[in-house]
């Protein structure tokens, strides 16, 4: 009996051994897979157990909280709330336990969640003191007054507005319309979240799309600024004269470039200065200039403004582009912002800002600093020059070229197509654009500019899809310039 009991004992010891091995398998080898399994809600609950940091806009007395977390009795303890609703949706993004996070909520999640390396020691201290961990506050550069002006000005139309401070790259406004209410996606109720998600995705106007950075548009005539820059960079002057034909025959094809008012010259039919050509947005002249400069010069200047490079920005953006190899007809058409040239509104705001800032492009900055719950700065993001094609100086064109462009763009608002952007008492520099979408389709209308022209504190890009309220008869000067003026006024503090 001793022997059989001893054997039985060994059998049960073996069973304990199996349990031990299996536990090691589960809690060491498979542990990470199990812990991070998408249907393991523990991570999620832990995440929602921390008061997520706020996101603010504006400074001083004007500061508003655009995202904050409120404690609830739900199993997910903290609810993300966006008091301003849709107004800042495309800046904050949403924070959804089903559909993840977007925009600032996503890019600065480590800080918002209080788990960035910078906060490690503070968190340890908090844990020792028994204080709850709290997320950090993200301070954005957005100016509520400018943001609101842009929202109001765009209302009802589809498009985007980006306003920057040319000196620092600060994003003063970033608006995309139509927008959505991020509260719908950030609730704790999966049913309504899914419903909201489905209807937002089914909406043909795609309100979830941030048009200011994630949509590519043909820049239309706003691109003539870059063509003009290419010319000035190569010794041209605003007073240089060019032929003023009614139509420009494109080499190698039977196609022609016409002016906006078809069948008419821009000036007297014989000659026109570069400045006047920009003022009236003369297609034929710019086609001629581009053919004279050649494709390489055009592409090079466009790239020096950041096209064909990924933008260094706080949130991911689409990359604006111009084909590197252009045949002659494409060169002429690209020079007036048609064909395959595609840009984001942010890109064009940066072009305007760089021109206003002596040719130096600053890195667009959406977040200026991160603060802890007591307002202490955890991390700062000082203004930086934009690195273009690996060069960190941010010098897009020479200061002389920038000055020439500023002079011509000021004339556009004073005497040309951009007069709707004029602000009494403040010199405004700008350029309109009306990007053809094809036969019978309403154009996308553009305006880029900055003010005051001599010492700019704000640059803006406005795009309105399908001519906005004006439809097929919409033009950059008619639809986008007034919006730009409203935004510039808000930024300048004039009414």
């Amino acid at each position: 009996m001793t022997r059989s009991i001893r054997r039985t004992a060994w059998v049960s010891f073996l069973l304990f051994g199996l349990l031990f091995l299996n536990l090691n398998w589960l809690q060491v080898i498979r542990a990470d897979d199990l812990a991070n399994d998408s249907s393991n809600r523990r991570q999620l609950l832990a995440e929602y157990d921390i008061r997520r940091g706020a996101i603010t806009a504006g400074t001083g007395a004007d500061q508003v909280t655009i995202a904050a977390s409120r404690e609830t009795d739900d199993q997910l303890r903290f609810l993300r709330e966006y008091e301003q609703g849709p107004a800042y949706a495309h800046i904050t993004g949403f924070h959804s336990f089903i559909f993840g996070r977007t925009q600032v909520e996503s890019q600065y999640n480590d800080f918002l969640q209080g788990s960035a390396p910078e906060t490690l020691f503070r968190n340890l201290g908090d844990a020792l003191r028994g204080r709850e961990r709290q997320g950090d506050t993200i301070v954005t550069t957005v100016e509520p007054a400018v943001q609101q002006a842009a929202i109001d000005a765009l209302r009802g139309q589809t498009g985007a507005v980006v306003a920057l401070d040319p000196r620092s790259g600060d994003v003063l406004a970033m608006v995309s319309a139509p927008t959505y209410d991020p509260n719908l996606l950030s609730s704790h109720d999966p049913g309504p979240i899914r419903d909201a998600w489905e209807s937002l995705n089914a909406d043909p106007l795609n309100p979830l799309l941030n048009r200011s950075i994630s949509e590519l548009y043909a820049p239309g005539s706003t691109f003539k600024v870059i063509t003009a820059a290419a010319s000035l960079e190569r010794g041209g002057r605003p007073s240089d004269t060019y032929a003023d034909p009614t139509l420009l025959d494109l080499p190698l094809t039977t196609a022609q470039i016409g002016n906006f008012s078809r069948g008419r010259p821009c000036n007297d039919g014989t000659s026109i200065t570069l400045q006047r050509a920009l003022e009236v947005s003369c297609n034929t002249t710019f086609g001629i200039i581009a053919l004279e400069l050649g494709a390489d010069a055009l592409v090079q200047t466009a790239e020096s403004f950041g096209l064909n490079s990924d933008l260094d920005f706080d949130v991911p953006t689409e990359t604006s582009r111009i084909p590197k190899e252009l045949d002659e007809p494409s060169t002429a058409q690209s020079a007036i912002g048609q064909r395959d040239v595609r840009v984001t509104p942010l890109q064009m705001a940066l072009v305007a800002a760089a021109i206003g800032n002596d040719g130096i492009m600053m890195r667009p900055r959406l977040v200026s600093e991160v603060q802890d719950f007591a307002g202490r700065v955890v991390r700062q993001y000082p203004p930086q020059r934009q690195t273009i094609a690996g060069v960190a100086t941010g010098q897009t064109v020479s200061p002389q070229t920038a000055a020439g462009l500023t002079q011509m763009m000021t004339a556009v608002v004073e005497n040309g197509t951009g007069q709707n952007a004029a602000i009494p008492g403040v010199p405004v520099a700008g350029k309109t654009g009306t990007a053809e979408q094809g036969e019978g389709e309403a154009p996308d209308t553009w305006f880029i500019g900055f003010a005051p022209a001599d010492n700019p504190v704000v640059a803006v890009a406005v795009v309105v899809e399908g001519g906005g309220d004006a439809g097929e008869s919409g033009t950059g000067g008619g639809v986008s310039a007034p919006i730009a003026r409203t935004v510039l006024e808000a930024a300048l503090g004039v009414q």
Binding site: M1, T2, R3, S4, I5, R6, T8, A9, S12, F13, L15, F16, L18, L19, F20, N22, L23, N24, L26, Q27, V28, R30, A31, D32, D33, L34, A35, D37, S39, N40, R41, R42, Q43, L45, A46, Q75, G130
Partner: protein, 463 residues
């Protein structure tokens, strides 16, 4: 018997006894300190103050430990000094975890508080532990009442099938009876002990007979069928009852304990082979006949195939264990409420999440220690009945740990049984305290005389 022992070697025995008493006392104090730390940690995770009733709680634990310690040392001097402290510690950790789960569930839906009830069960459990030693004095008395005990065990198993008092609480297994006063009991937990006592007693007497192959069944030499009668009957009735009650875990335990004890009594591996064969065919039959068995097996093979429905519980358990990893997420920092039935069947997974591999290994080691001590006690026991009883109790205890821990860790298909001393619920706790009390008594027993129990039993066989 006791007079003889004392007379024989008083000084040596008492010195060893004193050493054991000291060991037990020191371990009990350690168990109380660990339990109070656990209780404090669990409460600190909820609010930054020390729990209000910490001193009172420590006082109650100390009083319970002192009572059990005094009873053991007075009535079973020389008893194994590890069993009681380990059982007490497992009980304490279980209490802390039930308390912790209460917090998790309360914040969610303000449900029933289980910890106060479990504390009452702990007090009753220790009382029963003391009572067993006090009133039984000598466990060999059980040998005399084997048929009564066997009958009571079978009747206890049947009671949940009775109308009115029996119930399944809507959980599929009809294994509870309602006790006046709002309590419920699982008679199966006690019946399990009764069957082990009955088997031990019967097999100790008939083991020579069962070892001898006297008749032939075809090519096989088999013992006389008559010898199997009572144990076979008890066994078959138990299994039949459990099939109706749909209690897979207890069926498995009773089947295994029968086969194991038959083997331990006779040393004939043929019983294990036959048992294994029977188990395989029985399992196959059950699998082909019962959908709930098929579901269990399917979940075991791939719990993630239906992770939101049938596999949900096991998947949540595996998530908890994986999330815990090596060091655990910390006591009070996990989400035990995500696992259905966490305070009963799945308490081990909750411990695995918050205490990690370190904690689960420590807990397994505690069970392993009880198993080791139990088998040692069996090997040193003075007579066949005591040996078989100790070995049987230890085996059923170890196997129960294996079945439930193996189930929640997906080593084997899940069968809902309790984790000894830890699962919330009174019956299991009381039964396990009685089990430990029996082992304690056996460990203190000394040989009656030079003539060993073996010869005594052989003499009985000869009658």
């Amino acid at each position: 018997m006791k007079l003889f022992r004392r007379g024989r070697d008083t000084t040596a025995a008492s010195a060893a006894d004193r050493r054991r008493a000291f060991t037990e006392l020191a371990l009990l104090i350690l168990a109380i300190l660990i339990t109070l730390s656990a209780y404090t940690l669990v409460n600190l995770a909820q609010s930054p103050q020390l729990p209000a009733g910490l001193l009172a709680y420590g006082g109650v634990l100390a009083a319970l430990a002192a009572a059990a310690h005094i009873v053991v040392r007075r009535l079973a001097p020389g008893a194994d000094p590890l069993l009681l402290p380990i059982g007490f510690l497992l009980n304490g950790i279980g209490l802390a975890m039930v308390n912790r789960i209460d917090f998790a569930v309360r914040t969610r839906e303000g449900a029933l508080q289980l910890a106060p009830l479990q504390t009452i069960w702990t007090i009753v459990g220790i009382a029963l532990f003391c009572g067993t030693i006090l009133f039984l004095r000598d466990h060999t008395i059980l040998d005399r009442y084997r048929y009564i005990i066997g009958l009571v065990a079978v009747v206890a198993l049947v009671t949940p099938l009775l109308p009115v008092i029996g119930t399944d609480f809507g959980r599929g297994s009809r294994i509870w009876i309602r006790v006046p006063g709002g309590f419920s009991l699982q008679p199966g937990e006690f019946a399990k002990l009764g069957l082990v006592i009955f088997f031990a007693s019967y097999l100790a007497e008939k083991r020579a007979l069962l070892s001898a192959a006297t008749s032939r069944l075809g090519p096989l030499h088999v013992p006389p069928a008559r010898a199997f009668g009572p144990v076979g009957l008890a066994w078959i009735v138990s299994l039949a009852v459990l099939v109706f009650e749909r209690d897979l875990g207890l069926s498995l335990l009773i089947f295994s304990i029968f086969v194991a004890m038959l083997y331990m009594a006779t040393g004939r591996i043929a019983y294990v082979a036959a048992g294994g064969l029977l188990f395989a065919s029985g399992a196959l039959a059950a699998w082909s006949q019962f959908s709930h068995v098929q579901t269990r097996v399917a979940i075991w093979l791939d719990p993630f195939a239906d992770a939101q429905d049938t596999g949900f519980q096991l998947v949540q358990s595996l998530f908890a264990l994986g999330t815990g990893g090596v060091a655990g997420v910390g006591w009070g920092q996990g989400n035990p409420e995500l696992i259905p039935d966490v305070p009963t069947d799945f308490i081990f997974a909750a411990l695995g999440e918050e205490l990690g591999l370190l904690g689960t290994t420590a807990i397994l080691l505690l069970y392993f220690l009880i198993a080791g001590r139990g088998f040692t006690i069996a090997l040193r026991a003075p007579d066949d009945f005591s040996r078989l009883l100790a070995a049987g109790l230890t085996f059923v205890f170890s196997l129960q740990v294996f079945v439930i821990v193996g189930g929640v860790t997906r080593l084997i298909p899940l069968t809902g049984i309790t984790l000894p001393f830890m699962s919330q619920g009174g019956s299991s706790l009381l039964a396990n305290y009685i089990l430990i009390a029996l082992l304690v008594m056996i460990s203190a027993a000394r040989p009656a005389a030079d003539a060993s129990g073996v010869s005594g039993n052989l003499a009985r066989v000869g009658k």
